[in-house]
Each structure stands twice: as structure tokens, then as C-alpha cells.
Symmetry: C2
Subunit: 423 residues, 2 copies
């Protein structure tokens, strides 16, 4: 540990100042220069496999000694495929359209003033994440493409791996002639650095926390800086009275079981009483075959004996696991009421053949993403065609749903005149 | 004071709950119903002149006894013209396009999923303002038009006037069958209510503070809820080497002196050395004739003896008065550096005939509004063609520049499928 690192507030202050200076340069950096940095970083990742694996080995050894679970160790591990995946990810981000400078709207006033609303970067984005080394590359690249400076704070178990990836990003920045401050990794594992970061409202414009509920709760409680985040994805799929049984069966299985650990996985199935006898058991067949535990209320259990009792707590639980809860709701109003009471405003779907019921659901459910006859697992920036994303936001301000390069920008108004004076 | 009012946290909690319930109804209220409420309120204002003037007289008497300045008493006073202005303002807001439900973007994915991004209300908006009775009507109406519930907290000196205006708004809501909770005025002058409001992150989505710097500083320091605000409007007009002297003279006079008390008034003039001898004195002629005090740096003073010395403090001061500071800057880079150092990211203008210099300035100045050859006093939602505004935001998140009905909305994604499952 160096002297600078012992003084966390001073260290973080310097990082913040460097980021802000870099941000003012990045704001007008040409697309080609930003892309050159991204492609340079990709090349550096591919050329540094030995160094990356050596750094990762240190993290894995320390993690094993520390007794990390096999799942956490797997998340931490790098290999050829994952390094190639990161490099390819940077190239994909380079290929995205540059959001900065895009004219969102333009109009002329009767007095001849020409007004345009133009995308500009947000400024400095702080990313706080768990021990997933690839987030270092993904998050740094997305912020760079959108013209923002980034301050990255990765989980301490991935410190060596993230530092080695950071060197590759720095090599890309240097090659393109961009300032070092454009992407910085906090060079200490001291957790006080996170607390300090959350107070740096003068230099950091937005914090993006990426991780589990406890990380995000802590950051939400402490942060003086706005967050782009979702706390949980308690997603619902509602099987309406007019749902097609084949479609309902297929989509529910996918929504719950394609991957159980992602935020867009359905956690609660809502079902209309009219189709309880016809639709529920076929759906439960699929779920049980796929290894899913099904918990439900009394009416659901009366319709299918394989369903075990759900408690009040189940309705508000994001399982992130092969478990689903089932509630019988009397109509679309009751479905919406259940979602409003227990949901997390992430993603909800309705399965129905009734256009009127679909529109009622889509219009009245207030979540960031509402779906008709499709799997909630489509809640993803890539699946939306937005390219890579830094996360999904359930906030109502600024960014909502998938947060891609466009959502990492702000805007300003440019007004062109020829001497207009206001009467 | 009633029992409920003695218990501020309980009172505010009830107001928050009522607002949130109303917000969920307003979110899907048809445009015609919202407009009926606005037109009903306008009619009620016109029909209630006697009651409004009587309530206002109470405030004016108390204000006079309290020793309010003539300017504050004038701001507080209602008369026929001002009541008619409020009523007309409500009609103008009714005539605006409804932002809710507007499809901002729509696209289809290769798998057939149809995705659209649709405007939705923000939810509950809290407005905290000084003793300007008309804000009660304006702010309540803008929030209603954009489908939001509003909690209004006006200055205590205008309490009776605001309460009387609130009754007219309530009459409009009742006539249209909208819930009482849609627009609520905090029914106590106790300042603890403001502190309580700023903690109600569960029920209030955004706070809009309207008032002077000290009010906004206090709210910024205390609020747990995001704010749409500008702290100051330290606006600059930069006279470039290639500026037309006639245009520079006319626009600078308007930018400073049209109204000195508004946030878009120019506070500092920046000028290129090449035009110091030709352009400065004609501009100072106009300013001095209009009664403006001109302060400047040494180079400016050497060019025109009427200029008195400016101190370092002047560069960061929002005068809101007939005073301007003048700094000589060596080129557009120096102008941008001065603005970055001392500005408030509100509105800045360049006067130039050079397209290249104009583009450099417009692209690189990071303020919410940047202008070419026009008066900074155009920084206004009405002048932008956006209709009425609730304020100007200098934040980078969500709302920036004039905050009109569109900026009082969020959005959600609607995804329509026919059984898609994610591979």
C-alpha cells in the first residue's frame, strides 16, 4: 500500500478531479478516437492473456483460501473464452452508433430562432460492482462510448484481475491519445473508498451499482449521488382468462426457467380462476419437469396437488432460483393490484388473446417494462436491440429499463439566431 | 390549527398517501377529463374574484404588519388582471398537447417482438415555492396536465391567497370527477412541513423548488428526493473577434436589461481583445443609458473609463439587478474556460459571424442552453415553444433547460409478442 492509498479521501479526490478533467475532453472526442481506444483495448486484452491469467490466478488462490463458494469462484475465473468474450464485447460497443451529438429534436420559432436538443455525455459515472472481472471492461467501454469518464470500483476478490483488465483499457486509451482519467479503477481494496465515492457529488454525476440486493441497499442508503439501479426484479406473468394454453405453457416455462438467476426471471405466476382447471396443471407439468418448486395460495393448491403452500413472504421474494409462487387473481384488476402491492416495477407480462384486456394491462401496470405474450426474460438491452447495457433501471427519472449508451447521455439545447432580442 | 395539523408527520403522511392514490388514477385519466378539470378551475377562479381578493387582503394586511418590502408585497398582491392571467394560464395549459401516452420510439425485433417507449407520468411531484400566489395555479395545472399528482407548499405570507386559489383548483377537479388528492396544498404554515416533505421519498417522486438561492440551497441540502432545479443563472454573453457591432450592441442590451431579475439575464459580458476598441464602448453606451452599472477587469477599464473595477467575487455573482461585469478573454477557449470556472450551467451566448467559432462554442460549452447571436433572455419554455414551464433545470439528469409538461413525464417500454421465448 502506498502513502496515497492510506489517505482514502485524498486518493479519491484526485481520482475525481482527473475524471472530471477527462470528461471535459471526452465530451468532444470524435467517435473514431473513442472507437480506436475500444479496439486498442480489445487487442490489448487478447495480447495479454498470460498476464490476465496470472493476475486471475492470484485472485482465485486468495478466494479459495478465503473459502469462497464454488459459484463465486466460477464467477471470478477467467479463461480463454471469457477473455475473448470481453474483447468481442469491446468491439461490439465500438460498432454501436455514437449517441453523443445526436439531434433528438429540432424546430424553428416564428422569430427565426432555430432550437435543437442535442445529446451530450452525462460527465463522470461511478460504477460499483461485485467480483465479476468482465464488468471492468464492459462498464468502462459503455461509459467511454457515450463520452463519459468512468470511475470503477470492483469487488475486492477480483482486485488483481480487474487491475490487469484496467491496464488493457489504459493501453487502448493511450493508443488513441485519450487521457488516463477517462477510465480509472480505484487502486485500493479498502472499503472506505466506496463510502468516499458516494459523497463525491462535485465530481461524479451518476453512480451505477451492479450487484445483489444487499450491495444496492447499502449504496442507496449512503449515496449523495443519483443512482441508476434496480433493487430487485420481482417479475410477474399473468395468465388471463383468454390465454392460449400452449402459448402460456411455453412462455411461462421460459420466463421462469431459461435462467433463474437473472433479474428478468418471472418469480410469481398470476392466474385467472376461469383457466385454473385447464391451464395451471399443464404449466406446472413443465415447471416440475424442469426441476422447479411450485408454491401457491389455497386456490392454486386446490387445482394442483403438486403445489406446496406459499406464505405471505413469498409474494415479495425475488427467488433467483428454481422456485415460483402462484396466486389466483379474480381478474386483470386484481392482477394489477397484486403487482402494484408486491412487484418491484421491473418487468411484468400478460398472456392473453383479448386485445382489450392486454391494453388494460399494458397501460395500467406502471413497471419499467410491460409485455404481452412474451417471456419476461426478454428484459435485456441486447434483446431490445439497444446493444450492450450497464444494467436495468427501475427508477422513473432519466434512465428506465435497459441502460445502454443512449441512457448514459444527457442533452443540451442549442439555439441559433441572427440577432433576436426578446420583446 | 386543527389536531391533524399539530402532528406534522402524520398530516404529511396522509397527504402523501392521498397523492399516491390519486397519481395511480391520474396516470390513465383521459386528456379530456384532465382538461375539463383545468377549464373548470379557470372558470372557478373567474367566478371567485371576491373570495380571492378577500383572502389576498388578509395576506397583504399581515405582510404589511410584518414589514414586508414593497417589492414582496407587490409580488403577493392579486388584482383583476392577475386573476385573469391565472385563469388564462390554466386555459393555455389545457390547450397543450397531452404528453402522456405519446410513443417516443417504436421498433420491431427480428423475432417479431414489437417494442415501444411510451411517456407515462412521473407520479407525485412536490412543489415548494415562495409567496407568489399564482404558482399555486400554474404548478398544479402543469403537473395535472402531465398526469401527476401535486403536493404544493407555498410561502407562508401567501397562505390565504394560495388556499383560496387551491379551492378553485379543487372545484375543477371535482367537476371533472378527479380525486381530491390530485392537487393538494399543504394546509399549514408550519415550516416543519417542508422538512417532512423532503423525506417522503416513498410517496414523492420529484421536488421542484421555486425561489431564490437560499431557499434552493436549503432544500438541496435537506432533500432525500431528486430535485428539478437551478441554483443560479450566472449567464454569459461572449463577444467574439468577428462579432457584428450593431448586433452585439442590441443583443447585449436586451440580454442584460430587458428584465434584470430573471434567471436568463446575462450577468457577465466576455469580450475578445480584437474588438475591445470598436465594440465595447458602443455596448457600454447602451447599458449606461439604460441605467446599468458596468464593472470590469483592468483591460476592460483601460478601454472604457466608465467601467468601475470588478472584484473576483463579481465573476461568480448572479446580480439579478442592473449591474454587469465585463472580462476580456483572449479567445473562444479562454471564454469557455471562464464560463466553466464561474458559470452555473444555465445559459450562455456567443455573438460572432464566424461559423467555426460559433460551432466550437456551441459544442464545447456544457451549459443546459447555448445560444448563437441571440439574447440569453430567450431561456424560457414559452419562448422555446414548449408552452408553460415549471422552471429551468441545470441538472444533467432527466430534465434540463425549460421544464414543461413533457419533462414532467417518465416513460416505460411496452413489448408486444406472440409467444416469443428467449433462446
Amino acid at each position: 500500500m502506498t502513502a496515497a492509498q492510506e489517505n482514502i479521501p485524498a486518493l479519491m479526490h484526485d481520482i475525481g478531479v482527473a475524471a472530471k478533467e477527462a470528461a471535459s475532453k471526452l465530451a468532444s472526442a470524435p467517435t473514431a478516437v473513442k472507437n480506436a481506444a475500444l479496439l486498442g483495448a480489445a487487442a490489448s486484452l487478447r495480447a495479454s492473456k498470460t498476464e490476465l491469467m496470472a493476475a486471475n490466478a492470484k485472485d482465485l488462490t486468495a478466494g479459495t483460501e478465503k473459502g469462497l463458494s464454488p459459484a463465486l469462484l466460477d464467477r471470478l475465473a477467467l479463461n480463454d473464452e471469457r477473455i475473448e468474450g470481453m474483447a468481442k464485447g469491446l468491439e461490439d460497443i465500438a460498432a454501436l452508433e455514437d449517441p453523443v451529438g445526436y439531434v433528438m429534436a429540432a424546430w424553428e420559432r416564428p422569430n427565426g430562432l432555430q432550437i435543437s436538443r442535442v445529446r451530450v455525455p452525462l460527465g463522470v459515472i461511478g460504477v460499483i460492482y461485485e467480483s465479476r472481472p468482465n464488468v471492468t471492461a464492459d462498464a468502462g467501454a459503455l461509459c467511454l462510448k457515450s463520452g463519459n469518464a468512468t470511475i470503477l470500483r470492483g469487488g475486492s476478490e477480483s482486485f488483481h484481475s480487474s487491475s490487469a483488465i484496467m491496464e488493457c483499457l489504459a493501453a487502448g486509451l493511450a493508443k488513441a491519445g485519450l487521457p488516463e482519467g477517462a477510465i480509472q479503477l480505484v487502486p485500493t481494496r479498502d472499503r472506505a473508498a466506496v463510502g468516499e465515492m458516494l459523497t463525491m457529488a462535485d465530481t461524479i454525476d451518476v453512480i451505477v451499482p451492479r450487484g445483489g440486493k444487499s450491495l444496492i441497499e447499502r449504496i442507496t442508503a449512503e449515496s449523495k449521488i443519483p443512482l441508476f439501479k434496480h433493487l430487485e426484479g420481482i417479475c410477474h406473468t399473468y395468465i388471463d382468462a383468454s390465454a392460449d394454453v400452449v402459448l402460456a405453457r411455453k412462455v411461462t416455462l421460459n420466463a421462469k426457467m431459461r435462467r433463474t438467476g437473472i433479474c428478468g426471471a418471472t418469480e410469481t405466476l398470476l392466474i385467472h380462476p376461469d383457466v385454473l382447471d385447464t391451464h395451471l396443471s399443464p404449466i406446472v407439468d413443465e415447471l416440475v419437469d424442469a426441476g422447479c418448486e411450485v408454491r401457491g395460495d389455497d386456490r392454486a393448491r386446490a387445482a394442483d396437488p403438486r403445489i406446496v403452500p406459499a406464505s405471505e413472504e413469498d409474494w415479495g421474494t425475488e427467488y433467483l432460483d428454481a422456485i415460483i409462487s402462484v396466486a389466483v387473481v379474480d381478474d386483470v384488476d386484481a392482477a394489477i393490484a397484486h403487482i402494484t402491492k408486491y412487484g418491484s416495477e421491473h418487468t411484468e407480462a400478460i398472456i392473453t388473446e383479448s386485445e382489450a384486456t392486454a391494453e388494460a394491462f399494458l397501460n395500467r401496470v406502471g413497471s419499467a417494462i410491460v409485455m404481452l405474450n412474451a417471456s419476461t426474460q426478454y428484459a435485456d438491452g441486447g434483446e431490445f436491440g439497444m446493444g450492450a447495457e450497464i444494467g436495468i433501471s427501475t427508477g422513473k427519472l432519466h434512465a428506465r429499463g435497459p441502460v445502454g449508451v443512449e441512457q448514459l447521455t444527457s442533452f443540451k439545447y442549442i439555439v441559433r439566431g441572427n440577432g433576436q432580442c426578446r420583446p
